[in-house]
Subunit: 424 residues, 4 copies
């Protein structure tokens, strides 16, 4: 029995609320890969705040630093004034992340959410090139504010804009039509003077599409996209908000593709602790901003600087990446086994690293799996245009036992789900 009157949400919160409908309980506490509702029920979290909690909940080291900072009356809110906490983050991010990867980027604090980072990236690309259009890709997801929404493919989200979304062209993502490579197509549109597609300022791409259905672009495709951008002097923006910060096995999701984007957007797990934080990274040559040309009240969320700095300790050597990749292998093997042993599911394993899922025949089946899982104590969401993919996002630092336990719940849930006939 819940202690909180659920009427509060129904009568006072907008109908736009969503996840509370899928997970109908009131959550109270969380630690690592575990969530607890107010009745003390425990859940394994394979949702991880849609990628905002890659290090699990309330990581002890980050927590310690954060408490200490607050206790000590460290600056909380600073806009873009200089603070000690900010200086520490900037310096450590450069040392631990950028330099070892041979990436020379300047950092912009565009506001604390992913869509702030995307909007600032689009603005900068347009300013640098003097061009208007952006090429995005089918099924891409980049945010809900008008600039970001205009490069998002999802029809129902787009419709929510209430205005036509312009100055963008949606090109086919890898394997959008059958198994085909869409590169030839992309080239022809850029090279034919009658294509109706003007030379864009930038292309914005996710290396693995999360909301779009856990679609992993092949490295070769990404490489070719980068080549096309270079050839035509188009800026390449990687939106690494969901796929970055270790989710696919490396800090940046694009590392193994061997590409170096001109602009990178990070958010979600960047703070480590689940507090709002985002940055845009770009080549120093692109830093043509005037002071204050893009601003925002919460650019200086110092709590996030503190926890994000602490989170960087995970990345001091390669062991963390290796551990994610091992857990990825376990997970993918397990999912493949589920698909093989449950032919009624007609499933297809998708994804990379710990950003994986199984594509079902339709949203009803996938929804049934997540629902069965929730009943069994596992929180997991669906993705894809029809919600046809159930999506595993365990904390990337989850221990193997918990990972296997979660996978077992999924296996049981699949078995339960495929028993009933599909109704729609």
């Amino acid at each position: 029995m819940s202690k909180t009157n659920m009427d509060i949400f129904e009568t006072l919160e907008s109908e736009v609320r969503s996840y509370c409908r899928d997970f109908p309980t009131v959550f109270a506490k969380a630690k690592g890969h575990k969530l607890f509702d107010e009745n003390g029920r425990e859940y394994i979290d394979f949702f991880s705040g849609a990628g905002a909690l890659n290090y699990g909940h309330n990581d002890s080291k980050m927590k310690e630093k954060l408490i200490e900072y607050i206790m000590d009356d460290g600056i909380t809110h600073s806009l873009d004034k200089a603070t000690t906490a900010k200086a520490e983050f900037i310096e450590k991010f450069n040392e631990v992340i950028l330099k070892p990867r041979d990436l020379n980027y300047k950092m912009m604090f565009p506001g604390p959410t992913g869509t702030n980072a995307v909007e600032s990236a689009l603005k900068l690309a347009r300013k640098v090139t003097g061009r208007t259009d952006i090429i995005s890709f089918t099924r891409g997801f980049h945010g809900m504010t008008i600039g970001s929404l205009s490069v998002t493919g999802n029809a129902s989200k787009r419709k929510g804009a209430g205005v036509p979304l312009n100055h963008t062209v949606t090109m086919p993502y890898d394997q959008f039509v059958d198994e085909t490579d869409s590169i030839k197509y992309l080239e022809q549109y850029l090279e034919d003077d009658g294509s109706g597609v003007d030379l864009p300022a930038a292309m914005i791409v996710e290396t693995v599409q999360g909301e779009g259905g856990i679609n992993a672009a092949r490295f070769d495709w990404l490489k070719k996209v980068e080549e096309i951008c270079k050839k035509h002097d188009i800026l390449l923006i990687v939106d690494d908000i969901q796929a970055g910060i270790g989710r696919t096995g490396t800090f940046f999701s694009f590392e193994k593709a061997g590409i170096k984007p001109d602009i990178v957007c990070l958010s979600k797990s960047l703070s480590g602790y689940g507090v709002p934080f985002a940055i845009a990274l770009f080549r120093p040559e692109l830093d043509v901003w005037n002071p204050g040309e893009h601003n925002g009240t919460f650019r200086g969320n110092n709590h996030a600087f503190v926890t994000a700095t602490a989170a960087l300790d995970y990345w001091k050597d390669s062991s963390f990446e290796e551990s994610i990749q091992e857990k990825s292998k376990i997970t993918l093997d397990y999912l493949n086994k589920i698909v093989e042993e449950n032919p009624e599911l007609n499933g297809k394993v998708k994804g990379r690293g710990l950003m994986v899922g199984i594509e079902c025949e339709n949203g009803e089946i996938a929804g049934r799996v997540t629902s069965e899982a929730f009943n069994r104590g596992l929180v997991m969401e669906t993705a894809g245009m029809d919600g046809e993919v159930f999506k595993l996002f365990p904390a990337v630092n989850i221990d193997e036992d918990a990972l296997r336990k979660g996978l077992e719940i999924i296996e049981e849930s699949v078995k339960a789900a495929v028993k009933e006939p599909v109704t729609n």
Copy 2:
């Protein structure tokens, strides 16, 4: 001597950084109305995070609640899942704020920044009405993402968009042309079928424009704007992000105007503690959202729920409002005295509540005043299209002594500023 190497910011942070150029020191701690830099120098804060710190820095009661919550591993990040912290905020906000003001609003958590709230308000207005255009007002400021930027008047910010900003019409704010009321004009545009202005979905207005130069619309003007909206079935959106949460003397800035907006946007000081938080409020009849139609990773920032709930204690009776109004009187009297006694300043006192300032002849003079003030230990910024207004935003719970001390510094700064001849 600063301990932090300032090169960090210059070489690694984007040129877009701004306030760190005006206040060239590294801040380390803060408490109440005081800021401390890392060398231990103390500043009176008449900036208050551009309105995000109306209760001052690191308020003790909020801090206590926040520490307790974090220590206890309360949920930090929850998207729009139900949490105990969220339920408490919703319920208390309704009890302490909405009900006593006879406001019947539903709450939407659109993401944690002001621009998220504005974007969601615009979307909703367009969805409810099926119309495309929004009327905004000259010198209005509503945010940096493309939707919000399209209703922002500032030319240089608009230019940063890199795309034409459409589906909006900018109407004259109160006293935009001389001392005239712009109501007749607004009516004619809406009522003449040849005006080229289509019936808009909504009007979005600030009751006092902060960024625009501390322009306070007369209550009568606001009342007439509301009447026009009602007459034409146009939704009235009040962007109370900067003017709300006590800044002008009441919780909502529009209370004394006797209007009830259809949609209200709040952010900045809403969390009380300076952490990212925003809500959109609207009449229940307007709540036509589909679940998840607008989403965002940081809608459920539970740290903010906790401190925002604690902050509501300030509003349990009318004494807080009265104290702000008293301090407003002190401040306005002092500023008027400054203007009178320094005719060389040619200043004009502007604003309402503790959202006040002095308009100088140009940005050079005003900038000189804030610069002199910084040297004397007071942090304060400028506003207006040329930065011609120096802007006093003390914490609204500042004690009278500190307030007077700040005002004295300003007086001295003005005297110093008017001594030198203007160069541009």
Copy 3:
């Protein structure tokens, strides 16, 4: 009894047809100021093809030249190839019209309709300045294609676009709000950096608005608009399609205002004979077109070159202008008398030259007047947002007797119209 089966129009022509509903007969012939229907009924034409027949129908001298040209197998259609007929028009237009008025313009043949001329003018202004926006004026009318429609004020026409009409700002025309001059307002919008109005490429204005309700801008207002344009380096486009070619008493309608637009659009009566023809004129410095950058199949309508050349003979000395001005005086005196003697009409005389009308209380009254007039053998239309102005557009070369006869019919029609009570 009509010989033509009217079902042809009802069953085979689109519902968009309009004037055939107001003038329900089948016209067969026309000469000078007279129209004849197929039953031989004669009408005085105070409509003049909405300004396309300023010289009346089938002017004998033009007819002779046209017949001769056709008989002789002169080139009919030439795109923008050089033809003898085109050379003659260009040369004579320069000699007879431009030079004596001290106007140094290049000529562009943008396609044969007014909207082609307006679209080309907008394109050129945007190209020359590198800016996007155009300022148009309330109640302006410039055409039905998307570019021209975007600078047209009429709400129902705009709605027909089916897409939002962007990149334009509609500023108040002279006396849009009461009797006030809108200049101060216009200046403030251009000079305040927070006005939300970006520096436009051009302003497009009609000196007398035809469709908008026969609104004549004061010469002083036009002069100030020109000054503002010059000050801000904004191009001034005069759309002289309806008001030009003698309609207001001089060849160009702007001559007496003492202004020299950067770009002028002409069409309607330019061919003299009612065949499609349009030109855009602009200062030579603005001629930055690439060859073929704007094109169109019917740019070279040689029949129009021939008749337009013949029409220029009217302008060889000042006698024609004087005669129009005399007839204007007669007409305005007569209309003023009608208004005075029929106080029930509550009418207001509007306009300039022979572009005049009476504004009635509403469209019903005005429509009743035109309907009564049609029954009495006079063709005349209404204008204004509600059709509240009945509009006198006699041929500018009409003889005085016919003019007076038409005015008498109008007087009778007004008397008949004001007898009945208004129903809506």
Copy 4:
């Protein structure tokens, strides 16, 4: 020696003039397939006003009717008032063209140029469906006004707009990428909810692209496009302005594809005589226009009604179509022979009916061919993004001798052109 001073064009006509640069002489007369310049030099016309003179110049029967009409003071200009000439055209067009082809269309007179017809078609499609976007095809050409330009692919023409062109998506035309059918691609974009392409109001397509480089879509492709439109309730607009009126061998170019478009745009050769005229045809169910919702001064060009009515006599039986098809065969055989016998040309024969051409390696070669041809007395233009196709548009009623003579000149011109080395 030219009698006309060519300086007239250089000093007084805009730089936008184009064809007069390719054909540097002053034309004076024309008859049938022949053009004469003012020095009496004779040219075979394989240009035919870019498709506006399919019946050749100054056809004797049409001329007779036109002269008679003018002599008799028939109404010249009528807006959309009913006239005898208009009634005759409507009735005969229905009897001779529509009924025998089992097409049930209403006629709209949208203004006299192709772009007027296209703009009205787009407006209507948007109005009927309530949707905003239009799908057009790569290399499509539909006109120069902003609405039509937004569905035109040509990059340099688009750039001329000076504003972003929105509310359109350019899909790949048949064989845009290699020899592939683009149908699968089109389907995927329409059926995937994450494609970023909203359900459009309409698709607009040319069956053979003229300006785009004489690209003939396969009938099967057109059939599939129609099926997709039907499936998704998208209106199919065929822009038959250049390919219609016999140019490809049948009255409408789409007849042999076995499709029935929802809307058809006609212009260019519709008047038969080269005078401005255009119509939009659509299914009666789509006729949701309000009276006057789209208007325009030159909708009622009665000279065009007269000649267009006369031109319909060509279509009273199938003999005319058969003769065109015979001449097409002769032409294509000849062109294939030219390509085979001149391997240095590396040419490719393209097109359908008498809308044909040879694609050369680049624009320099093709331009050399047309230039050589002009010197030999044949007028012909180039098409394609680089002008790489020389384009044969003889009058469709040309006699075989003249046709062969023209082809011989082309053969000689090719031989001359391939002799010189290419320089760019």
